[in-house]
Subunit: 154 residues, 2 copies
Amino acid sequence: MYSLHKYGKYDSDRDKFFPYGTDWHIGLFLCMYERKILPNLNCGLDLVAEVLYGKWKIRLLWFINEGHKRPSELQRKIPDASKRVLTIQLNELEDQELITKKIYPVVPPKVEYSLTEFGKTLIPVLSVLGKWGDENEERLREVILKRYEIKHDE
Amino acid sequence: MYSLHKYGKYDSDRDKFFPYGTDWHIGLFLCMYERKILPNLNCGLDLVAEVLYGKWKIRLLWFINEGHKRPSELQRKIPDASKRVLTIQLNELEDQELITKKIYPVVPPKVEYSLTEFGKTLIPVLSVLGKWGDENEERLREVILKRYEIKHDE
DNA sequence: CCGTATCCGACGCGATACTG
DNA sequence: CAGTATCGCGTCGGATACGG
């Protein structure tokens, strides 16, 4: 069974603490979740992968670097992303000290993100990545799309 | 209802074809699955992200480049990965023309992977990534691990 | 304008057992 | 040794509705 705490629930059977926000019934963190599985952090490549992991993170860094700083603005530049996920990934980038957030105490609310000095060092690295992608654009598009063609036989 | 074909099942209700390997009951491709959702392929960064997406792909490229070519060898270098996923990701890298596979007709089976010329062009790019990760190793480890500390209040 | 909560489909991948 | 099949947990992220 479980007992209630101020900030969540404790499941004594599994000896686990589930903060609020947990979907208790299926035991997953669905909203503003925290991960349970530690990632690999052995080498530089692992560490980079970890901070860039997230569907829109690279794009967010890129656009913030280009001077698009407000959430609504970023939302407009990345219309395929939901507001929810942009918020989550911006928070993660902030936690990872790649960007900072400035909140203006006005109505309606105004928020601006900027790259930190640390975040700025990542930009040239992303450029190298993007350059390779651009140089091989056609070939990459081709081999990637190959996987999505269903091989019917009639 | 659905009808059987030589290479899968056709669901007329949904006008979809499900190749074998599909877990029919929950409608997912669980084993050797194919993705349903097209990724973004707008710019170089998207394309790179797509070929590197996969928990072990970078490491596989890295080790193959270092001369560890046989599946069992790669398995030993990456003990945390299951054989299943290594196979899947090696196949993907092969489909994406970053590596080639050579099968020797012997018993017991012998297989060797190598980087293609295309694949080799990716190595310096990965080096840049890894270098940034190595240079900022401590800071990265710190900010990443921050997220995994559970904030109890008692 | 900015953020949160709920619900849910899609997906990554480990564990395990099995084949040739 | 190399690969496939089955099962199931953990996670990402979209859709939608709501509150300050």
